[in-house]
């Protein structure tokens, strides 16, 4: 990853989405970053 990409994911970590994560992690065990981004847009 580039520094800019590390910053992007650091930035997005401020989105507290426990309900969303519980939902997605329980469903598949892992969540594509792109799906995460799409879910907040």
């Amino acid at each position: 990853m580039t520094p800019k990409e590390y910053l992007l994911i650091s930035w997005m970590s401020y989105l507290d989405l426990p309900a969303l994560y519980a939902h997605l992690l329980n469903r598949g065990g892992k969540v594509p970053l792109a799906a995460f981004a799409d879910s907040v847009l």
Binding site: K4, I9, S10, S13, D16, H23, K30, A34, V40
Partner: protein
């Protein structure tokens, strides 16, 4: 799923929305997530990409709809005197990745926690790439930990960011371009080139003065009122 209901904590402003759009292109999966918002405040995500494991620590949050307390901020103030209430959980995460390429990252307090993670890691391939992270108290780290940070951590600091100037920094700091006005601490303050590398800048005088002042203040408090600060912090922080 009721998207509006599930996502009630998301308040994307324009710059963050643009960042989320850029994230649509990133490879990798979120494979783990810890959230201690109702306890010590630590929140971390683990992202697996084809090349590496990335552990992301969230920065400080204020009490509000999404977070129940100001524990992050109390912890920021008290850490130089009594240590962080989040360190124990950070160490548990670190121990999950004893080998392989691991990058600890984060912004602000998340950056500081990523540096703490690297200092605790025995993984020789672990690194830290962090953004506007605050420093450490003078005696917080061992010489070996300081050497680890010096060799394997980079802290990109917007040239006039006050938080990245605080206290002592064994890690390598790279000062980068940001806006001349407005808040230099926010993630959108960074300026990158087309390859995704931060654009270097000269550190501001104010940043240097803040660093010197906070080092003097920390030393003075430790010498004159350290016990009082420690007692106060232990009273307001939850038990580790």
């Amino acid at each position: 799923m009721d998207k509006a209901g599930e996502l009630r904590c998301v308040k994307l402003y324009d710059a963050a929305r643009e960042a989320a759009r850029e994230m649509l292109k990133l490879p990798g999966f979120i494979v783990d997530y810890v959230n201690f918002n109702t306890g010590n405040g630590l929140v971390a995500y683990v992202i697996q990409t084809p090349e590496e494991t990335v552990v992301v620590f969230r920065g400080s949050e204020r009490a509000g709809e999404c977070v129940s307390s100001n524990i992050d901020w109390v912890d920021n103030v008290c850490e130089p005197f009594v240590g962080s209430v989040q360190t124990e959980e950070i160490e548990k995460i670190v121990q999950t990745y004893p080998q392989g390429r691991v990058v600890f990252t984060g912004h602000s307090k998340g950056a500081h926690n990523a540096l703490v993670a690297l200092s605790l890691s025995e993984n020789p391939q672990a690194q830290a790439v962090v953004f506007n992270g605050q420093g450490f108290a003078a005696e917080a780290l061992s010489p070996a930990q300081e050497e680890t940070l010096a060799r394997r951590a980079v802290n990109y600091v917007v040239y006039r960011d006050p938080v990245g100037a605080l206290l002592y920094h064994p890690e390598r700091r790279v000062y980068v371009q940001g806006p001349e006005t407005g808040d230099p601490h926010r993630p959108e303050a960074y300026r990158f080139d087309e390859a995704g590398a931060p654009i270097p800048a000269r550190r501001s005088l104010k940043s240097r003065l803040i660093e010197g002042a906070t080092r003097l203040a920390e030393g003075w408090i430790q010498k004159k009122g350290g016990q009082g600060a420690e007692k106060l912090c232990r009273a307001v922080l939850p038990q580790k």
